[in-house]
């Protein structure tokens, strides 16, 4: 399907391939895959020339743009036009972002591989031992070249969902700063974004052991359906029973926001959509509950504007949330 999507985006897909793609993309759950492939394709085109056969059209468009601005010049400020013409002839390619980057750094005879999901992306990775990792936006994991040989250690910054292959001889260890998660074979989620107050581990099935690299005596065995939340500031571990779906559904492109303050909502949206936000101080205690599947950002913002008396404005490339005085007045009436 990836190949067909690419062909379609490049305008090379045959009618039957397009039909196949239509049937596939009509299924809601495939949209997110389609959207992310499209994003990846956009980025891959960064330094490529114009698509085949479009050069003439592009020249014609420039011609017409020039003619139109020339006409306007005859009626308006001449210096202004010089800038306009200069602008028309001045082309620099720029397109931000990137899919995921795999890089290696050498350290004696040990190599580290690093996998990163940029903001706006969710990456699914198969590790050398066959374990699967879903990396949430803005997260990275690294492991060394001896992974699956004499260790199964990964270092995580951010959030990831793991489906670990069973191997009784070699335990799988997730290092995320203050907390280590040691497992044999199981499914679980770790959220440990740098700068965040907590490290959260949610166990879906199997058994995991929580350890601390600093305090040797600390250990806790987590049961399925439990969520361990380690508070970095006071080294406290809180255990609660949760609906694990709520914490793991992001891997399928679903973002659950459940009674969260705008501060947290914004953090998640920033990661998911790679878009910077700001908000007025008075809004920080507004709480939101909604679920995002494959909706584009503008739809989400519209929904947020509907469920709370807020409005958005655009300042350069930042979206700013403000209190909508009018709606507040309506509500208090």
């Amino acid at each position: 399907m990836k190949e067909i999507i690419e062909k379609y985006l490049e305008g090379r897909a045959s009618a039957s391939e397009q039909m196949q793609l239509l049937k596939w993309v009509r299924k809601k759950e495939n949209r997110i895959v389609f959207n992310s492939s499209r994003l990846g394709w956009n980025k891959s085109q960064r330094n490529k020339p114009l698509p085949e056969g479009s050069e003439k059209s592009w020249l014609n468009i420039q011609d017409q743009m020039l003619q139109k601005s020339f006409k306007r010049w005859q009626y308006s400020d001449k210096i202004n036009l010089l800038v306009r013409i200069a602008a028309i002839f001045f082309f620099v390619l720029s397109l931000g972002g990137g899919a995921y980057i795999v890089s290696s750094t050498k350290e004696k005879d040990i190599w580290y591989s690093e996998i990163e999901a940029e903001n706006g992306q969710i990456s699914k990775v198969k590790l050398p031992d066959g374990s699967m990792v879903w990396l949430n936006s803005g997260s990275k994991i690294s492991y060394n070249n001896l992974f699956a040989e004499n260790n199964r250690d990964v270092k995580l910054e951010g959030e990831a969902y793991f489906e670990v292959q069973t191997n009784e001889d070699l335990s799988f260890v997730v290092n995320s700063g203050e907390i280590q998660v040691k497992v044999h074979g199981t499914k679980f989620n770790v959220e440990a974004y740098p700068g965040s107050e907590n490290i959260d581990v949610v166990l879906e099935s199997g058994k995991v052991q929580l350890l601390s690299p600093e305090v040797a005596s600390f250990q806790y065995f987590l049961s399925p359906g439990e969520r361990a939340s380690f508070v970095k500031s006071n080294n406290q571990l809180n255990i609660s029973e949760v609906n694990t779906m709520k914490y793991t559904s992001w891997k399928d492109g679903i973002l659950n926001i459940y009674n969260q303050p705008l501060v947290e909502v914004v953090k998640r949206l920033e990661k998911r959509y790679n878009q910077e936000f700001e908000f007025a101080e008075e809004l920080k205690d507004y709480h939101f509950t909604f679920t995002i599947k494959s909706e584009p950002l503008d739809e989400i913002i519209q929904i947020m504007e509907k469920i709370a008396p807020i409005k958005t404005k655009q300042e350069k490339n930042v979206i700013v949330f403000e209190l909508d005085e009018e709606k507040v007045r309506e509500l208090s009436r």
Binding site: Q18, L22, R31, S54, Q64, L93, Q302
Partner: protein
Amino acid sequence: MFDIQTNYNLKKGDPSAFKDVFKLLYPRLKGYCKLFISDDNKVEDLIQETFITLWEKRNSIKTDRSIESYLFVILRNNCLNFLRNEKLEKTTFSIDVEEVSELQYLYQIDLLGKEEKSLEEQLVTSFQEAVDELPDKMKQVFKRCKIEGRKQKEVADEMGISIKMVEKHIAKAKEQIRKKLVDQYPVLIILITLLLEK
């Protein structure tokens, strides 16, 4: 979806952002157009027209809204206008629902984010509306000759008017329909602008 930066740069009038948009969307817009129009030159014209409109209207771009859907709606209207005019020039035509090219929904999902009415349905509806708005006598002549495909002489006899009068009615009707359809175009542009500005 383009990143907000591209939208913002485009709104500012940055030609490199415009070129990026062109580069990434040209193949798909062309693919969509070709579903309805077989003449390659015409397809190129319509696409160029669409991008020029985007450039001209860039001030009304909302940076957090999708440029794809903006471009797509403009292109769809351009196609619609072209097809109507082409239809009008034929000796006779039907205003029943035509065969719908299913693939257009792929482009709608991709560029609009959802499935909407097909172009064919829109074409038929707008035609019916334009024909319905003709003055009574003109409408009858136009319907009998152009849609039912009957002979001018026959219609003239039936209605008790001269053939010259029938020809005159048809010419006038065509002019009026065309004018209405052309008038509709700027209205649609305003609609899109409003839509994009919420």
